[in-house]
Symmetry: C2
Subunit: 163 residues, 2 copies
Amino acid sequence: MTTDTTDTAWLDQGQQRTWRAFLVGTTLLMERLDRDLRDQHNLSMPEYEILVRLSEADSRCMRMAVLADSVSHSRSRVTHTIARLEKAGLVIRAACQSDGRGVEARLTEKGFAALEEAAPTHVAGVRRFLVDLVPEEDLEAVGRVFNAVADSLIEQNPAMDVR
Amino acid sequence: MTTDTTDTAWLDQGQQRTWRAFLVGTTLLMERLDRDLRDQHNLSMPEYEILVRLSEADSRCMRMAVLADSVSHSRSRVTHTIARLEKAGLVIRAACQSDGRGVEARLTEKGFAALEEAAPTHVAGVRRFLVDLVPEEDLEAVGRVFNAVADSLIEQNPAMDVR
DNA sequence: AGCGATTCGTTTAATCTTCAACCATGCGAT
DNA sequence: ATCGCATGGTTGAAGATTAAACGAATCGCT
């Protein structure tokens, strides 16, 4: 924008540069982590994230809605993702005991094994392309910032296992 | 992961929390900015980004490949995005003078107007859900971090208009 | 108990992105 | 000149995500 007849509070040059670096950086980072997982372990990032959450849950099993909230994806999306994982035999679905509407997704042994295999690749990527690249205090700042962002965007969200 | 027979350099708890906050935060942030643009201006984030780049270029016109590099999207993706924008009349394509293979995308008046309309919405969102939420020095850290990330992931990329 | 409003999860279709194959042009060496 | 190869960009199909509509079960209230 050059001439400006609005009263919009534009970003200053530094903020602008930060914002674009963020956009480009995340685009490249996500793409790279995703590609590595796909090429080496036949998993996408979203699929991997789901497996991680399940692996940490009691009896490696979670309700669909809780799972959806924990990764901040839509329920529809999680339904599709779980469907794929189920087809691959990494997860299995079962009706929920306590709530007739509910469905629980449980990690299979095969799913757990797949996660164990993929994890080192993923973590190495996160280190190599992010964590090990910058001073610890900058990384901590990133943590503060995105916690604030997430908090400000989560309104009606009971499942606070998010972080 | 609980028991660990690998020699993988796992993330410590703080790094882990940072990483997850980043994932969840960016997911929610992007989704929100995208939704706002769509609802109010019928533009997606990627489309908006393309329009921004074009608006800043000489004669509001760029080669496809340069455009692709500048937003860090695949060429195929940019082809599709530009096709949509062209159908909407916001952009027009023309053969490149100097290089018979080349195609230039030029912002139309209508496209420029659409961008002028959408920009305040977008910037307000970036402020509200990111910039205004955190101390300036934390934001600057974010800039440093993602510049480093982008740099480390850009190898063979001649177009350095990225930032 | 019964009724309306919510919540849960799925489904289908539309939209967007990725992937692989492809043609045309330009470049460099011979 | 011409051959081989790299680059620029598009295409169509496959894959993933979003959006909207839906049925089923639960909850809250009376």
